[in-house]
Symmetry: D2
Subunit: 135 residues, 4 copies
């Protein structure tokens, strides 16, 4: 079973069309990613700060299937996929849980481990690599 | 006991100084307000959309006492205060729960019930007025 | 020549890694889209509000090539591409202008004209269709 | 004459009520603050990153007088006010320029120069102190 993150849609997530602004689906998936790493024992406070070794998003894609409104309950599943020793992907599925459960979006991000000093790709940190392998 | 909302600080809440961007404290308090209304049985999907009757924030103030970082756990308490038949305030206290509980910010918002058609203040909707009175 | 939008990176665009948070590249491209429509004479205040006819983003994708920091100057080019009578795409190129001009990201969005009442796809509004055709 | 910053309201600034979300007024004022510092020759890329010396916002307040919608043109004036050798305030006035110019909000922030290592207040950096004195 993939890691699952539950969340409610709030007013700050929305835009003037009355629904969640499409880039915010990625922000919510990033929350799910952070919770998955924390659940696996990684120190997210340390990981998501400005260091020499960073693991930024190099690619993203999304299919938006249904709108989300204030008060909607959602569940996001998080599935890491190994790519190379320096990189991995995450596949997300975002379900709207009310009134009946429906898939609302599919998203994907690719992450590349990078040394800011060396200005080149470096192997993933071991704890992150272990999390990716566990899928 | 005032309504309390628990939340974790996530990466999208932060800025390049490595901490939560100060306007985002208000966004988190608005989440707590929505949860408090939902817990009292109000339909927040309906309430926070574009209608004739809106209850926008007319004033806000905040004292920021401690920074918040990715992974921090927080609790926000929500205390509504009656002002007039057309308006109310909410006092928020935001506590950082780790490593030991500390008050991290005090915020306040004032809300005014307004008819967009009439372009004037109108009495609070009854369900909202009841929530304010319960304090 | 495609429409071009100039902008400075500000602190609210950034995250705790010290650079622009990746979903915010889409928010900045949406700003460029709005400016392109306004320059073509469309009423964006009307277009981007909650109506029966909405034109939400159905797909998005991005390649992030370089980080962006507070104070960076950027230029975003906006190229609409016809897809069907109900839909179109926009290809964006985001250039960082300092210290020398470099491509920083390529993004793409697909938009589908939809009637909320009919719950189905409908032809693009004429003014929008004309903007898409002009490329 | 105080420094003035011109800006258009965009879709990402708004919420499901169809207007700018109230915390985003502070984000727009922070943009104006950054532009004022850059115009005075300060290195904002350096200033707004994670260093030992930070100058966070310790207090904020706002009066919201008029709503702002997608496409609205605004002007924000920025007036720094000296407080102590370690702190200063900024008074902002936000004007909506269309259809006729009207004051839309008054905001205020207080900033305290702090050493993260010493965990105490320290004098403002000289370039910032000079900017504050010029008013």
């Amino acid at each position: 079973m993939p890691f699952a993150y539950l969340r409610t849609i709030h007013f700050p997530d929305t835009d003037a069309a009355g629904v969640v602004f499409f880039p915010n689906y990625f922000a919510m998936c990033h929350e799910a990613y952070e919770e998955a790493l924390a659940a696996a024992g990684l120190n997210v406070a340390e990981f998501f700060s400005a260091h020499d070794l960073v693991v930024p998003v190099a690619k993203s894609s999304a299919d938006y299937l249904r709108p989300l409104r204030v008060g909607d309950r959602i569940r996001i599943t998080v599935r890491p996929e190994p790519l190379t020793e320096n990189s991995f992907a995450i596949a997300y599925e975002l379900f709207r849980l009310n009134p009946v459960e429906k898939l609302a979006a599919r998203l994907r991000t690719e992450h590349v481990s990078t040394s800011l000093k060396l200005r080149e790709r470096v192997p993933l940190p071991p704890a992150l690599a272990a999390w990716v392998r566990q899928g």
